[in-house]
Symmetry: C2
């Protein structure tokens, strides 16, 4: 008998009718002979409504401890209703909050990380042939404080619980068919991937392919949890995420992702002294500003740095940098918005030279100058003007043979570089 974790997001359970449909799906999965533990998010707009309520109470930012108390009720409502819906269909079901599931987190509110899980209680229920419904997105500190896991929290709950109970599979149900080679809203002939490796998925997830949160993928990789991303509306196969995906012949690049949340900052004329870079990036990190791509160009005795931050962090970052002008001794700063980061991702890149060159060439042929570049073993990212995003993605998708109607040549990827 397989143990399966099934995760449903807020829109899948957004109305009582959808909730009943999800219940039927879970019951079917159980009756196929599986033990099912279900992780569920808050119904539809519940979280937004709760946030709205808090804004009517607080003038400033609400205290994070109390926000966690408030928001965790959303999932608690979902799990209770889903358990009722399943029981209506004649199967045993029990709902559990985060703390009842034994999900312990660090003592941080709003974005706690899971420290460990003591799943005995839900395991006992599973062994009694009961369908277990767990509230996603939430946990408890050692001191008994209620915490939330922040963005991607429910995906992370599903994967972490799957690891803790040694589930055979963790299924993430979404409103899309699986993981695509790129955003199907931009590229009509985007292909659904049958398999993808954790690392590739991680790059794609980090790069804004919203289907799975990077934290969840990281957690899956760390604990070797077999993940499936599939549609909650049909029974198609979805995408399997696992350690090493089967290489599809001729496919070096698995997917193309983009991230519009990009702003560039340049610090010009930084005197060459040890520790200058550290000063800047420590100051930013201390204020929780995440820095992504960093480029340094040295010019005799003084260097220029450019780096990207999230668009929402730009003003904050500029203020921080201004505050350390004297310490660092730089000449001036500039910043730029209206940018997008486009990335090609593929485990096959490692053993295939020239993949990056092909990307640069394709972009330059469109008459677009590349602003910044960053590479990893399985990824190449270019920062370009936002206005040219669609044509770039379409061009790259075709260039790397990802279009569904493209015949993949047997000669291999070398030909197309």
């Amino acid at each position: 008998m397989s143990v399966i974790v099934m995760k449903f997001g807020g829109s899948s359970v957004g109305t009582p009718e959808r909730m009943r449909r999800v219940a039927q799906r879970i019951v079917d999965r159980k009756r196929e002979g599986n033990r099912c533990l279900v992780v569920v998010s808050a119904m539809g707009d519940t979280t937004d409504e709760l946030i709205d309520l808090s804004k009517q109470i607080c003038d400033g930012a609400p205290p994070t401890r109390e926000m966690d108390m408030l928001l965790t009720t959303g999932e608690q409502v979902s799990v209770a209703l889903l358990a009722m819906a399943i029981q209506s269909l004649g199967e045993e079901a029990r709902s559990y909050t985060g703390w009842q599931t034994g999900i312990y987190t660090e003592a941080v509110h709003g974005k706690a990380r899971i420290s460990h899980i003591e799943p005995k209680r839900v395991q006992d229920a599973l062994e009694k042939d009961c369908i277990v419904i767990v509230a996603g997105f939430q946990g408890m500190t050692e001191e008994g404080e209620i915490t939330t896991l922040g963005r991607g929290g429910s995906d992370t709950t599903a994967v972490a619980v799957a690891a803790a109970i040694k589930a055979d599979l963790c299924e993430i149900y979404t409103d899309v068919e699986g993981v695509y080679s790129t955003d199907p809203r931009i590229v009509k002939c985007a292909r659904k991937l049958n398999e993808i490796s954790y690392d590739e998925m991680l790059e794609l997830a980090n790069l804004g392919a919203a289907v799975l949160h990077p934290r969840a993928v990281e957690c899956a990789k760390l604990n070797q949890v077999r993940l499936v991303v599939r549609s909650s509306f049909n029974h198609n196969e979805g995408t399997l995420v696992k350690e090493e995906a089967a290489m599809e012949q001729g496919i070096v690049v698995s997917g193309i992702a983009y991230d519009k949340n990009v702003a560039r900052i340049s610090i010009l004329g930084v005197p060459e002294r040890p520790g200058q870079l550290a000063k800047v990036f420590t100051a930013l990190a201390n204020q929780q500003v995440d820095v992504d791509i960093i480029v340094q160009s040295g010019v005799q005795d003084a260097a220029d740095f450019s780096f990207t931050v999230g668009s929402g962090d730009l003003d904050k970052a500029m203020t921080i940098i201004a505050s350390i002008k004297e310490t660092v001794g730089y000449r001036e700063t500039t910043s730029e918005t209206g940018l997008v980061k486009v990335s090609i991702v593929g485990a096959g890149m490692v053993s295939n030279p020239g993949v990056a060159a092909k990307m640069f060439e394709a972009i330059s042929e469109l008459g677009i100058s590349i602003n910044m570049v960053s590479t990893s073993e399985i990824k190449v990212s270019c920062v370009i003007p936002n206005s040219r995003l669609n044509e770039v993605i379409q061009t790259l998708h075709t260039a790397y043979g990802l279009d569904t109607d493209t015949t993949v040549s047997v000669g291999g990827p070398q030909d197309r570089r």
Copy 2:
């Protein structure tokens, strides 16, 4: 420094604006030099909305365990928002669910009784000068299951927590000024009582004076918690409920209550055999039918029983009684609705003969025949036709000198019997 428990019901915190007003009231109380623990119910219609959601999910009665999971979110939302509102006013505040407060209950869903409270966590917070906000109506079993306390639950939470932390006072804030001599909607010159004893309050509460739930009064009496019922809209003094209320001179009857939820059942021609009464009332008790007034009239070898049940239980009770017809061997049954139970309550009755007689006389002078009678040390109840309720209450209110504009004669109550 006094420790005060303050309880606010759902309508007092029904909107963000009201919530802020309650927060201000709590902060004021704290700044007077008190330590404050606040118990709060779910906002306005939240509970009804959640019940409605469950009905959209379940065809039949929803499983009680899951209903408790669902409904307890209502109070959790309230406590979080109230803590935020108080923090906005510059005072430290922390919210706690039932389980976080250490409220343990028996393992029953929907109407659990509190078994014990381990209040260390909230006491520590109080000692750090923090305003503590506790979710009413909820607790946890020893096994970590979430339970609700059922009707009157938040009042009971307030009193039980007040007892556990040895609070100096437990204030119940309501939408009325305090406990009245009778329903002010019926009797315009009903008087607000300054003091009342636990026993009197218990009778009044049981008899449908909805201002305080009998469970909460019982708990207060048992633990000698000083209770105040007062308005959440103004600063008037309210009614103090304590062991022995100061006798107001000339006042024997403190209040007049009524209960419209009354149906009469008569079982006629019951053969005289030992244990006949027990058979009937055990059968009813086994099916959770509460029986109130019982009257037996014997007629040679066979007896007639009459008793009252809640109107909603009438059909169920009649079915149960029909099912034991052969065992008991009675001749026939009759039933009657459209009744009301009117009761006079007063600790002063014990030492003042003739109080009941005065009641019977007043009612019969109105040309009303009394259906059934029941008495206790501090109470006399008469069952009469519902249609005559208002005039009976008005008449009794005046007869016992309860009207606010009545000059209480120094000669004492004897005169008026």
